[in-house]
Symmetry: C2
Subunit: 402 residues, 2 copies
């Protein structure tokens, strides 16, 4: 006890300001892509493979070679890809906004279909839930298990015609780090929702974000599985280079069936003449192809691995019996469970100068039913800060475990 | 007669494919900004004036120095500016979409207010009208006169609480090239709309797009006039660098009151973590300040002036009595009026290999009541093509004037 108190005073006296709230790349990671900016320069010819001048208007859904690059990230075909701007969150938001105002494929707008509901595997990504709340869509919690959402529950819920979607982060899930099993993917692809305008929102944010070369999770290809299941239009897949190149200047894409794409093109054409094709070409020139991109991800992993490993090592040494935590093979987060004590732990860490994301963020309506889940975002700190933050977090858990 | 027929055959035999449909910059213009791409490179420090790393997440409404640059384009203050992505059309669309689903300031969403109507000065910009049609907003034509919209009519129409907006392209209007007089701007700023959520959509697309150094149109500052009129929240102003640097890779902004901005930030935060700040910094590094940008516009003018002057010269020589046309001091278009014969002229030009935008495009619902208005977009061709296209157009008018 005395020992903990002494440590508390010691950290308190350091007047720290450490931030573990958001999944941001650190400076070292950003530097990996600096030379991308040199690829496209005043000497370039600015022509896409199909002959578009990328500086000018036109080409609503992106240049072909960039479609190919992003398609390869998720093992899809370029013709299933629509390239947007720098934010996949924006693409997801727009898909939902357009479903509300104009409907999905040939169905009525959601705004004319009464109550709209959505399946939210928890814990999940706060910004996903925020979009739904913003549009007044009712969120239904479903447990996210070790291998994906509780499919018995999901299969039951989609029998309600008002249920129009489900959020999925299939690889290295935000925040728990789990990945979907083949069985879960197949059951999702084989869903028979009552609503013809139900869509799986497959946010493949971390598909190439492995921490280990020899322990890479590979989740079944959802577009393929949907096709096999005779459900070709069931899924919208989202992918981006935000955490591959620059969060502020990546490219994002929607990957889905030609049917869905044609319908979405018919809506997007009112919104824009086209996204930033210069940045698309810049990405292609930098990576050349998917192998270049994968090589880049290995460099990211080298920077991130020691951070995750330090947390795992120290938690194993200090927190057994006091908390449960994840040891992910990729992605951006470690999740800690401290049932009944999460708010207190976050409060304690804050006293010591470590900001953590608000408890409840991983749940719809910010309500963690068990006051249990804390999401740690270790990436944005340098190694020294990370180690300090880890010790403070451990101390905070211990202090709240008396 | 014989002479025209001979010319027709001559052009026909050339099997031309000329395109005057859209207001795209030509290649020479694009080259003016090529070196902008060298400004931001792997050696840059990537820090905004306020210390943001532009490569990373954050900074929802744009970096301060880019706000300053775009504010100076329209003589506004940086704190009234929200920087978005590469498309001002997208910003306008999003403003309307958000008004439909979430409402303007503290007012009810338009989707819950029954019929929504909009004032459309005609002739106008087809993509403006297309957005309204897409959202089922009823468009009311108002004549665009030499000095702006017919204000007697506008003042009458805003007494209807269902009327929620008006499109304005105040400087070198698309397509007619007219600019708004001080009196019109003041009457707009002093409107007393019945609807508290009525907004003037002030698309200042051509504010710096002068053709002449010594004949620059300067329209009154609408934000200032609205403030003076005690109507500070009445206007959304839109501006972009699409035709200053690259249509495919510019930056676009919304300029409006702090009240409106705060409300819009509260909506946009669900949609994105932030726009591409790298491109914002790139623009600032290239231009340094508004003087650099204005110098760039002089170079654009040097390229464009001969095109507009050729048209004016040849139309004056050939079309007096057969057509009316505009002789704009800036912007991207020449508008021709041939009452009762526009479709025939466009058809004839098409036979000769010259594509013109569909008649009706400058009107809501694609209906030109007098089959009269043809918009010519001379910028995207090189000078030789432009001269050929002009001759073909003149011939087409003559052939339809028998």
């Amino acid at each position: 006890m005395e020992d903990l108190k002494a440590k508390y005073d010691e950290y308190k006296a350091m007047n720290l300001s450490l931030n573990m709230t958001r999944g941001k790349p650190c400076k070292e990671q950003l530097i990996l892509s600096n030379t991308m900016l040199d690829c496209l320069n005043s000497k370039s010819d600015f022509l896409s493979a199909e002959g578009y001048d990328v500086r000018n208007y036109g080409c609503l859904d992106g240049i072909k070679e960039c479609k190919k690059l992003l398609a390869d990230m998720v093992d899809a075909q370029p013709e299933n890809v629509f390239i947007f701007g720098n934010s996949s969150l924006n693409v997801m938001y727009d898909c939902i906004a357009k479903s509300v105002t104009h409907g999905v494929l040939n169905n009525k707008p959601w705004s004319k279909q009464g109550k709209i509901k959505w399946i939210c595997p928890v814990p999940g990504y706060d910004r996903h839930f925020a979009i739904l709340e913003h549009f007044g869509i009712e969120m239904i919690n479903v447990p996210l298990k070790e291998d994906g959402p509780d499919m018995d529950l999901v299969e039951k819920l989609v029998k309600d015609k008002h249920v129009k979607g489900i959020w999925c982060v299939p690889v290295y899930s935000n925040p728990s780090g789990i990945s979907y099993s083949d069985e879960v993917v197949r059951r999702l692809a084989n869903l028979k929702p009552k609503a013809p305008d139900f869509r799986i929102y497959w946010d493949n944010a971390y598909v190439v974000h492995h921490l280990y070369d020899d322990k890479q999770i590979k989740v079944l290809n959802i577009l393929d599985e949907c096709r096999k299941a005779n459900n070709p239009d069931l899924v919208y897949e989202f992918v981006s280079t935000s955490k591959v190149t620059f969060p502020g200047g990546g490219v994002a894409a929607l990957v889905t069936s030609i049917n869905n794409l044609d319908s979405i093109k018919g809506l997007v054409k009112y919104q824009t003449i086209g996204p930033d094709k210069l940045n698309q070409l810049r990405h292609v020139m930098f990576f050349k192809d998917i192998n270049g991109l994968k090589e880049q991800m290995r460099k990211h992993a080298e920077i991130l691995r020691p951070k995750f490993e330090y947390i795992e090592k120290r938690f194993s040494e200090e927190l057994v019996g006091l908390a449960k935590w994840t040891n992910p093979l990729g992605g951006y987060f470690v999740t800690v469970e401290v049932p009944g004590r999460a708010k207190q732990v976050v409060e304690k860490a804050k006293e010591l100068g470590l900001s953590l994301v608000e408890v409840g963020s991983a749940f719809p309506y910010h309500k963690d039913p068990n006051n249990s889940v804390i999401r740690l975002a270790p990436t944005c700190m340098d190694q020294k800060e990370l180690e300090l933050a880890t010790e403070i977090f451990i101390l905070s858990v211990k202090l709240c475990s008396k």
